[in-house]
Amino acid sequence: MSFTTHTKDERRAMLDAIGVASAEALFDDIPLHARFPDLELPPAISDIELERTFRRLSQRNVTLDDGPSFLGAGCYRHFIPATVDYVLQRGEFYTSYTPYQPELSQGMLQAMFEYQSMICRLTGMEVSNASHYDGATSLAEAALLALDEAGKNRSRILISPAVHPHYRDVVATYLSGTQASLIGPEDTTLSAADLVGKVCEETAALVIQTPNFFGYLEDLNGIAEKVHARGALLIVLVDPIMLGLFQPPGSYGADIVVADGQSLGIAPSFGGPSVGIFATRRAYIRRLVGRLVGKTTDVEGQRGYVLTLATREQHIRRAKATSNICTNSALGALAAATYLATLGRQGLRQVAELCYHKSHYAAVRIAALPRCSVNPVTPDRPFFKEFSVELPLPAAEVNQALQKEFGIIGGYDLGRSYPAMTNRLLIAATEMNPREEIDRLVEALEQITASRAVR
């Protein structure tokens, strides 16, 4: 339907002021054959039907609240405190544009400044931008930054094979527009220490994820020194929840830290939108991508905040900008900031601890099942929140059985990304999984593997 704003008289008066007979005449510049096409769109529905239609459509999806879920693989179910949506629903925030006019945007600017501050503390870095689209694009931009810093001769990004496969895809797509390329061995069990040896004079950066895609925590102490000694940068991709408890990448010399911020108060929402975290050293501040908020004062000396170093950006520097990003994920950053403020120092640590203990409990119990092995190949490496299970039958089949027979949303079928791993499941356990759910999963796995494995 059309929501008429002007009365007939008003419309007439406006057309008269413009000097045209009808509003249609305003479109005379458009080639006649293409003007006013008949579109085959479904007819408009009323607000009542809209509500019903969308409720029904949404009910065609099984939700993560409907039963236990152990899916992770880059998108997690974490507790979201009610403060987050309270803040996100403030019209002043979510209906505003990028804060180009600081005097009318102090709220968002200060919130972004605080976001940057918390991200700096959490990652141990000196500078954070005000957000990127998501984790994968943050990583791609980090690679571009490294390539730029490294100069023409270094055109390889060495990436750990245990980096999230989607992220590797995205980086590869981004690099397809450059002379550079993404390289990395195939063996997903290689640790950071193994990879560092492969850094050479062509390498612009080494990319390590920790915990990696399989859940292993990488011990990165001493890695940065080696990478730097070989003239490359160290890019670390992290799970922000982990940073509540474990060493920040800044402490072991990372040059760029990127992460997906979905875990910080953002609903999974079928994978998007999320927020990309991007933090680096002060040395690279002029090469940073995206918005950056800085503190200043007004003409009366009052504290205030503005977007700063805009000379890096596309709207000023155009073809020479550090990136093309314009719209970012400010509201996601606001959610993350609210989340971090609400969880606070103790809370985030506690969440990280719960994830650690729950996933270990699940791993230990599953490892005890006769036909399952947990974290095969390298069972002794520390892990966080996620681990993989080798099953006696295809993971896809196990997931189906979990869903249909037990009402459980299983783990990520690693065969979807690694053809050699069709029998392997990646399982995540967080603070949202009470023990009883984990026990149900273990029992279900036991039954499924016992009854079906022999085929």
Binding site: S58, M118, H357
Partner: protein, 484 residues
Amino acid sequence: MSEPTLYELSATGRKAVSLPECDVKLATIPEHLIRADNGLPELTEQQIVRHYLRLSQRNFGVDCGFYPLGSCTMKHNPKTSEQTARLPGFAQIHPFQDEAIVQGALQLMFELQEQLKEIGGFEAVSLQPTAGAQGELTALLMIRAYHAARGEGHRNEILIPDSAHGTNPASATMAGYIAVEVPSDGRGNVDLDAVRAACSGRLAGIMLTNPNTLGLFEERVEELVGLVRESGGVVYGDGANMNALTAIARPGDLGIDLMHFNLHKTFATPHGGGGPGSGPLGASSQLAPYLPSPIVERLPEDKKGSVEYTLTCPSHSIGRMSSFHGSFGMFVRAYSYLRRLGAPGLRAAAIDAVLNSNYLRVRLRDDYPVPFDRTCMHEFVCEGQPKGSEVRAIDVSKRLMDFGFHPPTNYFPLTVREALMIEPTENECKATLDAFVEAMRAIAKEAREEPGRLREAPSATPVRRLDEVRAARELTVCEPTLRT
């Protein structure tokens, strides 16, 4: 009164949430990997709520008032879309759930694709890009792959009109192209002769914004498209300005090969203070095979089991552009908007957007010269230096704040001096437009009679004019000292 920061409000030991006791056996945590302090602040729920409420009151959104920010299409964000996107069946689903149990989500994506195809006149649409600029980059990477596949990988120039948005040349660079600027002609169109001259064997394509950033429809768009196509180039359309054309003209019908939609402009999803957005990309039949992955497909009747809609990868896809399936939450909102309006509603919206913009143009042009003064589309650009005054566009903008309005876009496009780019959108009432005209006229008068008032503006805002130079010099970009 300025609002303290979270860190200034923090005190040791405060908590705003209560987490469960650990109900499983404690595992051993590798001591050497643990940190002493994660550096987060400590607050009560009340402090957090008050802090953000107060900050929000220091922010201006479309929900607060008129926001004629040109090129940004600050239209009303329907409240029903916000509720819809929060339904557990949409918000609480994981991108890796089995397709059989997310058919509602896939159906929604499929239908949104279909509608965008129809509105744009395209063969296929991918919802993958997360914003307009990413849509541009995606398109350029597709153009690159397309030429490479045809053995024309040497084509390395992209024509970009001088009035284009900064993301256009920036995207071209990111895609490894040389951005070749083409000038505008005297009527605000792309200069056809210049395009003709730039067409060579190196031409990869053109990035065309139509209506362009002056708010003008390219009068000879088909000729222009023809020129580029003849020399083997691909025509990319920057769809940021689609709000003028929904159900009015289909870019595909005009020969555009690729175009991104801004769901956060044309289809009323909120701008979120800077994002997240969504930039679905439409493609003609030649380019469609290169679209990023995934795309939702509907299975033919005889293949359907429990799965009717499925994610697929186009045959020559350039790959992924974001972590999962794009900004799904925005798809829900945009689809809700589309279902609410239908084709007649979309056309009515475009018509009113154009009506409102032309109305403001004619009512303001006596005080604020409009350099290309012809019928405009959804926005127009005037000079922000009122006739007979010396003040700058920025001063007019700041002074507008004192009248309760958000200023227009300043200093863009670069082709107009002291540019003020004004886009009222279809939602605004005549009364609001008239009040804006009055304010602009009052300011023009002030500019002539007491220009100091403008230079000192704003005065009715939470802070007065801010020192941007100082910010860039000092670069204080996070809380300076660690909490103790």
